[in-house]
């Protein structure tokens, strides 16, 4: 499997697992920003839509320091062998070469959910129900993000609406559209402990250029060779080992928020 180097001008997200308190503010901010409708009464952890999902991971060892941690799980924006792109029969998923963002074209999606089966990170969600907002709440929809319909798959796209807005204001100041722009996704902005950092390594916004090379940086399931653009940080060895998933660990997932 060929491994590619992530271009320094493409966006990366760095999530500090040691700082995450599992409060779920990122999940709420994400849903509001991206017009995710309130969950259907019948929705479960598997059938609801949560572009950003905070999972609780237990070390299975109560005596060994911090016994559990929380990991915010957005789409990992795989840079190589992007599994959802390969399997999509509709060409509804695209990796943008300039930004590195993996984008789901929901209008083109036929709802076969191959991508959900292919995604090793369970970061994709299917709309089992029509999105419905309580009376009056539809007026709070974000006009920069198109709502999706029942029967299509959706996922995190690094707050693409905010990227477009940042690009437009860069253009107002005469900056060409090929130049990278600085912006912050809703989850990073909402995080009370500033556990989520975002930017391009080349410009080193919020220090991401240094963080991805730090000794505590790791990525989820690196052996798959998908080269995610979402990095995690932890000083705890067991958390870093858990991300490798090479040896058997007792992990239990639990959704909060």
């Amino acid at each position: 499997m060929k491994s590619i180097e992530i271009s320094p001008s493409q966006y990366v997200m760095v999530i500090d697992a040691d700082r995450c308190t599992g409060c779920g503010a990122c999940m709420v901010a994400c849903a509001i920003e991206n017009n995710v409708a309130p969950a259907h009464p019948d929705a479960t952890d598997r059938t609801g839509v949560t572009w950003m999902k905070v999972v609780k991971v237990s070390s299975g060892n109560n005596g060994d320091g911090k016994p559990a941690c929380y990991l915010p799980l957005p789409c990992q924006q795989c840079a190589a062998e992007t599994p959802c792109v390969t399997v999509c029969p509709q060409n509804a998923v695209e990796v943008d070469q300039q930004t590195g963002i993996v984008f789901q074209m929901s209008q083109r999606c036929l709802g076969c959910r191959y991508c959900m089966a292919a995604c090793p990170y369970h970061a994709r969600y299917f709309n089992w129900w029509d999105p419905e907002w309580p009376e009056g709440m539809e007026q709070t929809l974000n006009p920069d993000v198109a709502p999706r319909m029942r029967g299509v798959v959706e996922k995190c796209n690094f707050c693409h609406g905010r990227y477009q807005a940042a690009r437009a204001s860069a253009a107002e100041h005469g900056q060409a559209s090929s130049d990278p722009v600085t912006y912050e996704p809703a989850c990073a902005q909402a995080c009370p402990t500033r556990a989520i950092k975002f930017g391009t390594p080349a410009n080193n916004e919020q220090g991401v250029g240094d963080l991805v090379h730090s000794s505590s940086a790791f990525r989820l399931l690196p052996r798959l060779g998908t080269e995610p653009r979402v990095y995690y940080l932890s000083k705890h060895k067991w958390i870093r080992q858990m991300a490798q998933m090479e040896k058997e660990t007792s992990t239990g997932e639990e959704v909060h928020g």
Binding site: E94, Q97, T99, A146, A168, E172, S177
Partner: protein, 194 residues
């Protein structure tokens, strides 16, 4: 010409008329503009305004660059000239400080992202490239809304067989991407979709 061929031709012409003239008139709902307006008077020699005197762009892509009442009020704080529309402008809108609810011809679907500022300011595309001679028009035509899709006919194209002779005949995705190709701009989905 035998009668069989004649009736075939008559039928063909009849069906084409139904498909290209009668059906479109059913399909599109006509919405008149709230006020008549002549671009020609404003851009003509007597006044000599340019597009960007009223159609200003900001980074806010939601603004369609439709002029606000304050633009009109700069000159039309009281009735100028004789026309009925002029009187209505002052009586109904300027006097009450009420925005004119213009009907946008070119509003794109919800999932399309379009920024004037990137096309006009960065790519330096002339207004006429996409809007044709709209700036010299004498009257505002009715906006035609597709009863099924809810989109304006300016997006879907005025010419029913789907032909495009001039850039402003149609504003569909292929028309955008043709120009992006010509200019070497990216045709990545993300550039224009949200």
């Amino acid at each position: 010409m035998n009668s069989g061929r004649l009736s075939f031709l008559a039928g063909l012409v009849g069906m084409l008329l139904i498909g290209w003239v009668f059906f479109p008139s059913l399909l599109y709902q006509k919405e008149p503009q709230p006020l008549q307006f002549s671009h020609a008077v404003h851009t003509g020699e007597a006044v000599g305004m340019t597009c960007d005197n009223c159609h200003t762009f900001t980074a806010d892509v939601r603004s369609m660059a439709i002029p606000r009442l304050s633009n009109c009020k700069e000159c039309h704080s009281e009735v100028l000239g004789e026309s009925e529309a002029e009187k209505r402008l002052v009586d109904e809108f300027v006097a009450h400080d009420r925005e004119i609810p213009w009907r946008t011809y070119s509003r794109q679907p919800d999932n399309v992202y379009f920024s004037h500022i990137q096309h006009v300011q960065i790519a330096e595309i002339e207004c006429e490239r996409c809007h044709g001679s709209h700036g010299k028009s004498e009257t505002l035509t009715d906006r035609q809304i597709n009863r099924i899709s809810g989109y304006s006919r300016n997006i879907e194209g005025q010419i029913i067989p789907g032909l495009r002779f001039k850039a402003w005949d149609r504003m569909k995705m292929d028309d955008c991407s043709d120009c992006h190709d010509e200019r070497g701009a990216s045709n990545s989905c993300l550039k224009c979709h949200k």
